[in-house]
Symmetry: C2
Subunit: 615 residues, 2 copies
């Protein structure tokens, strides 16, 4: 069969079977690519087919062990990845099942690995099975090989990255790897790339660890063809211009990084503090983007091809958390490790975030779970001997720093932190203290102060997640009334579907502050040669959202799981600009289901057919 | 064959073959027991025969990998263990080869495990081979079993101990185990027992880890028979009286613990500071036994059957190293983690020592190796990027605390700390900065201020060690001239041989402050029924010292290895009460060899015959 080459793609995927140690190539038809684009979309398509195969083998997906060799891991780029289009160095990673949540595993990450994978000649990599001993994978200029990794097993992400680049004399190669947390199968483990970037949620690092796969290094000189290069160049220039003119992408993010949000969110009274007991952190200024910039910043550090450069190189000059070089922390990490735990020492946040990076862990889940542990302690639920001397109190910098690294190695209470707040709070007999949805800890916006994000947390397929439908862009940074529930169902649906598209394209979600669906059509069209418009793309996004939903239905999730912690539904925000608010979720959710064509959290057969998902 | 029961012994040893998972019993003849007593002596006897067997199999002992399944681990008690004789809860652990030094592996430890092993019906345990998956061993009332330990692999020593005791409902059982450092095959790993006691030198924990053996829990109600119980009771009372009347064992050690030595040794100007660059620590008072007692002590914590109670339960009330409960630190740990690294915060020392305990590592080697790293850094030998932000400077509390836990998990520079100062200093191109003998870091007495201990460091079989021949008892705590070399050869020989006996008996070396060879005859005689006297016992000690020496000769060590770091031989002590001193080792060493009947560090055939070791 003659392979039809599709513009924008390398037209080659790598399948790694770690059970047999066999490598093989495959590709997707143009029809499938147009329906699912790439990145998250194509991964969801693959996972759906894979899930059906497992069911045919008699495997019950609800009871299926996420750390068994049967789980599958996918690294995926999209048609825009590695092109001149801004912020296109990213990639998306998925697994059929998350070790943290039991729902789908999914994470999107910056850096340069995505672009380098395409330069190495591949659109994506599927990893199945489990290697007998630790291995790493090299993909250089179209050629892939597996190698013994026993001697680098145990290395942290920085050392691993350095070792692999040195070994092959490729100082600019992309390296994705796990740290000790992934090796130790800690459910909060992430997959790191470029030392400080992470496919950061749902425990993908533990899935990689369960496969005995330490790292993937990619490099090469290949490039995807562009269908209409002149037209594309013109559009790229226009898009860059729009990004530079936009207040958020042209000024706020470049100047202060994502941490600019600390003061904004806190001033609106929805900065979750002391495990969401309030939305106001009295000393937020000390852990703000302004403080980070004034006292901890070395310089900016953009991802590959990025025109925004929200990434930070940072340091701590003095005190117990002194460190001469690290990166970040991002807003979400500052909030989770700082606000959520009630601490006010940016040095401690930087240090704890550094441990998350080098040992490969999700700072949102870790910070939020430490905060839940602090509330468990406050309420007398954790026996003193479990603490082994740690003073587990809101505001204790040392407790946060220490528990963070202990989590990587499953030490002491770190064992429970590593399982996430849902498992931990159940274990200690107070499940209501876990501020999570579908087992994934919610991020840094209390929906009592912005109702739309609450609906998104409740309904996002991977669990309590902001980057699935970031309605904060409209409710806090835009002019949509944040307290009303009117119109939030539609807002959430559009944000979710647009985001599904962005994560399939694949480029940076921050583009959407300045670029809309029309501009996405202007990227994808000239690259692929398809005559796409905004309407088609939004439906594509909806298709991807729905197919992902169909997978989590198979995993056992339904309408009852589209909910929020009781605290947000019943306890009024006690103080500040969002005082007195709760989330009236049920009304929004019913409207949302109607708009989505879902019943009890499941797409109807009509909706499935409408989206061309009936096969 | 009818088994002759020998008084003082359980007359039963357990052999654990982890390759075949077979357990079997064996014993030693009375003739061998009288020649080697027990503990270290009987272990050395076993190792000698085992070493010869390996040689017969064609294995080159010099190149033999200490972490291979062919290495063997021995846990041994003696005839006095578990009797009423004071301080007899101890046991001795040995391995044919140390992963840290390449010389013999050897460590003696307090706690209660030794006594509990005899109550469980065994004099000792030999562990050979390697299990396919992690296992632990139970020995209860004469019955031994192996069990899957996969689920407790990764646990620290405190959790492991607690888990095993809970599992079997035996809260007073003895538990010996490794922590993460042993599992990770870190050469500085120890074998812990009773949470805070360690067979603490030469990397025995890594040998246990290499065998996939996580823990041994022992308990029971059996007891050794005593040949002359009435006579024994009378002697026990006399011995206890002598211990209580003695200034060191009756007052100094009970009141201040071993940490009482900090001020004494510093005031004599031989407290090695800043990696032995001087013998005076200006702020030693802050890390002294007096400070420990005043500010950090919870209470005493004696070993099983101990009448001295030098053990400390401790805490740190405030500051970054706050901890509500731990034990120690001992004098050597305070010196290594504190003085050697130039720090003056007892909280940091307590915390670092706590990490050594829970992750199972040797604080002497770790502290001394961190100090060597600090001097390497000072001299520009460690590239900045290797430090990953750690401010590696003498006096930096945080660097010591952080590098200690990082060592357990082989993270960053902790990888090199874990290999010990000899490997580390060679790697960074300055081998002369390792303050070790035969690869084992010397402890807390600069021999420029007490020459005898220098000869002992140089000639001790396991390397730079104080508890092989603690001449400090005479040179600093007694009235022997510390600066002269006259008579030090004989002093060292007697101390070494007496110590070999004590570690075979097995009880606590601290008894020797109050009890001499005559008293040891008064213990061993009534227990075993043998008509032994001081002369026989000293020859027994000499036999054990020599047979151990014959083993290290087989491992490749000879006269050239009986030396000291150049700094001690050539650099004059720069200040304080020992100012201007160096160690004239060669003269002492030649006299020592003559007294020992050794040529080039090897026993002559005449000496071997004289000691009955010719077989």
């Amino acid at each position: 069969m003659v392979q039809i080459m599709q513009n924008g793609y390398m037209n080659k995927w790598l399948k790694v079977n770690l059970a047999s140690m066999e490598l093989s190539d495959f590709t997707f038809s143009e029809d499938i690519l147009r329906k699912f684009i790439g990145g998250k979309g194509i991964a969801v398509h693959f996972l759906w087919k894979y899930a059906k195969k497992l069911e045919e083998k008699g495997i019950n997906l609800k009871e299926f062990d996420s750390l068994s060799p049967d789980n599958v891991l996918i690294f995926a780029t999209g048609p825009v990845t590695a092109t001149k289009s801004p912020n296109s160095g990213r990639h998306h990673v998925m697994a059929l099942k998350s070790p943290l949540t039991g729902s789908i595993g999914s994470g999107n990450t910056g850096g340069r690995w995505g672009a380098k994978l395409k330069f190495a000649g591949y659109d994506g990599i599927v990893v199945a099975g489990k290697a007998e001993k630790p291995v790493y994978l090299t993909v250089f200029d179209g050629k892939a090989e597996l190698h013994d990794a026993s001697h680098i097993w145990g290395m942290n992400s920085i050392d691993t990255t350095k070792w692999l680049r040195d070994q092959y004399g490729k100082p600019r190669a992309g390296v994705s790897c796990i740290g000790p947390a992934g090796e130790n199968l800690v459910p909060v483990a992430v997959i790191m790339n470029e030392e400080h970037r992470a496919a950061g949620r749902t425990g993908l690092g533990a899935v990689m660890g369960s496969k005995n796969l330490k790292a993937i290094i990619v490099d090469g000189d290949q490039k995807p063809s562009i269908a209409k290069p002149e037209e594309f160049d013109v559009k790229v220039k226009e898009h860059v211009e729009k990004l530079k003119e936009n207040g958020v992408t042209g000024e706020g993010l470049p100047t202060y990084g994502t941490a600019i949000l600390v003061n904004i969110i806190n001033q609106n009274g929805l900065f979750p503090t002391n495990n969401w007991q309030t939305g106001v952190h009295e000393e937020a200024e000390k852990i703000s983007g302004e403080t980070l910039t004034d006292e901890y910043l070395i310089s900016k550090h953009p991802c590959w091809g990025c025109v925004v450069a929200c990434g930070r190189k940072s340091k701590v000059d003095s005190g117990p958390y002194k460190i001469s070089y690290t990166e970040g922390p991002e807003y979400e990490a500052i909030w989770a490790l700082g606000g959520s735990t009630g601490i006010n020492d940016m040095g401690a946040v930087v240090r704890a975030n550094h441990y998350c990076d080098i040992y490969g862990m999700d700072p949102i889940t870790i910070g939020s779970t430490i905060a839940a542990a602090m509330e468990l302690k406050e309420k007398g639920k954790i026996p003193e001997e479990e603490l082994q001397g740690i003073e587990l109190e809101f505001g204790n910098n040392d407790a946060v720093v220490e528990l963070t690294w202990m989590t990587a190695f499953r030490q002491g209470l770190g064992y429970w932190i590593g399982k996430g707040s849902k498992s931990m709070c159940e274990h200690f007999g107070a499940p209501e203290l876990s501020m999570s949805v579908k087992g994934l800890e919610m991020p840094a916006y209390d929906p009592r102060g912005a109702k739309g994000i609450g609906l998104n947390y409740a309904t996002a397929n991977r669990g309590g997640c902001h980057v699935t439908g970031y309605t904060i862009a409209a409710e806090i940074l835009g002019d949509v009334d944040r307290f009303t529930i009117d119109g939030k169902a539609e807002l959430t649906k559009i944000f979710q579907d647009f985001t599904s598209l962005v994560n399939s394209t694949v480029n940076c979600l921050f583009l959407t502050f300045a670029l809309g669906l029309d501009e996405y059509a202007e990227m994808i069209g000239p690259v692929t040669g398809w005559d796409v418009d905004a309407d088609e793309l939004l439906i594509t996004g909806e298709r991807i959202t729905n197919l992902e939903r169909m997978i989590i239905n198979k995993l056992g999730f339904s309408g009852k799981d589209d909910t929020l912690p009781k605290r947000l539904l019943e306890e009024k925000m006690p103080e500040g600009p969002s005082v007195g608010q709760t989330v009236n979720l049920e009304a929004m959710k019913q409207e949302f289901y109607q708009l989505r064509g879902w019943i009890d959290g499941k797409p109807t057969i009509e909706k499935i057919k409408e989206l061309g998902l009936e096969e």
